[in-house]
């Protein structure tokens, strides 16, 4: 699949983006979800593309300073870190809110017996 939107074309130019013959490759669903979230928030005007590129390169630089293996396998961890930092910088959410929600999902998964769909409410009780 080739890039079909202006944002998608810009994404293909990001240094280090894991690419296969037909476009970006994801190893796990969360990588694709994080990828789509970042593109969508930009498309909807919450930040400019240069703000995104800056946040991403900052996250990558920071990881490299911390001894990241830098072989591409951690690319989407940096992507997610950049997304979290930009989302909080733009006050779309806060780190407290994100941490609380993450714990709620964590509890929801743990509190849900196997065979039942996981609902967020199960982590908010």
């Amino acid at each position: 699949m080739t890039a079909t939107t202006p944002t998608a074309r810009k994404a293909l130019e990001l240094p280090g983006l894991p690419l296969g013959n037909e476009g970006p490759v994801f190893r796990e669903p969360w990588e694709a979800q994080a990828f789509a979230l970042a593109l969508k928030l930009h498309e909807d005007g919450y930040y400019t593309w240069s703000e995104w590129a800056h946040a991403l390169s900052t996250a990558i630089d920071q990881a490299q300073d911390d001894g990241d293996c830098d072989d591409g396998s951690t690319y989407y961890s940096h992507w997610l870190a950049a997304l979290e930092s930009l989302v909080t910088a733009k006050k779309l959410s806060s780190s407290t809110e994100l941490a609380t929600r993450k714990d709620e999902w964590d509890r929801a998964v743990r509190n849900t017996p196997h065979g039942q769909p996981i609902e967020l409410e199960a982590g908010q009780r």
Partner: protein
């Protein structure tokens, strides 16, 4: 009880903060962070979940259902491979170069004139990524997860699949350790077709069990 302990405050950039891994917790710390971000942004109305899913579908490429289609077409044309696939799905897929990262096991379920298999993950969205790519939106939806177990025939009908009387339905619940893929029945009238031709008849849904392989007449029309 261990499930109820409050997690300590932690810096959410810390990759080393791993929770204890019990077998019912297939979501990694990172996946939970993405889930938190996504659910908050959707809840605030900042992101349209349908638009997100469209974008993901668009990019759902290399580890896509075509891998699974190749496996199925090979099984239809090569009896030895078929036997190996049914005996050990993950290993047979590996021989074709399709391998999961976590070495999760994969069982291949053979549809027969008597039995139709259907796969669900009631817990979250465990899915054989290496062979089917990313799970479709409906696979992750609460109604599918709940109804596939309670009313599989009704779900199939909604997908446009009407099974002949007397065909039993088996529903398989995926876990973090065991993923399932359905080996659909080869459509009648395709005897002697090449694996490449047959591949085109294998849909993603037919490998989840919410569909059957495409009719060769329709496919060529």
């Amino acid at each position: 009880m261990a499930d109820d302990h409050d997690h300590h405050e932690h810096d959410h950039h810390d990759e080393h903060d791993h929770h204890d891994h019990d077998h019912q917790h297939p979501m990694s710390d990172t996946a939970l962070r993405v889930k938190a971000l996504e659910s908050l942004l959707v809840e605030k109305g900042l992101v349209d979940p349908a638009a997100l899913d469209q974008l993901i579908d668009l990019y759902e490429t290399r580890i896509g259902p075509r891998n699974g289609a190749r496996i199925v077409a090979r099984a239809w044309t090569d009896p030895d491979f078929r036997a190996a696939l049914l005996a050990n799905g993950a290993e047979a897929a590996r021989t074709l170069g399709y391998e999961g990262r976590q070495g999760e096991d994969m069982k291949v379920l053979e549809n027969t004139p008597e039995t139709h298999n259907m796969v669900v993950c009631t817990l979250c969205s465990c899915y054989p990524w290496p062979v089917l790519g990313l799970p479709p939106v409906w696979y992750k939806s609460a109604p599918y997860r709940a109804r596939a177990v309670n009313d599989p025939r009704g779900v199939l009908e909604e997908f446009g699949v009407r099974l002949a009387d007397g065909v039993g339905i088996k529903v398989w619940d995926s876990t973090a350790e065991m993923r399932y893929m359905v080996l659909p029945m080869q459509p009648a009238g395709t005897e002697g077709w090449s694996a490449e031709q047959l591949e085109e008849l294998v849909t993603r849904d037919s490998m989840i069990g919410t569909g059957i392989a495409r009719d060769p007449q329709e496919a060529s029309a």
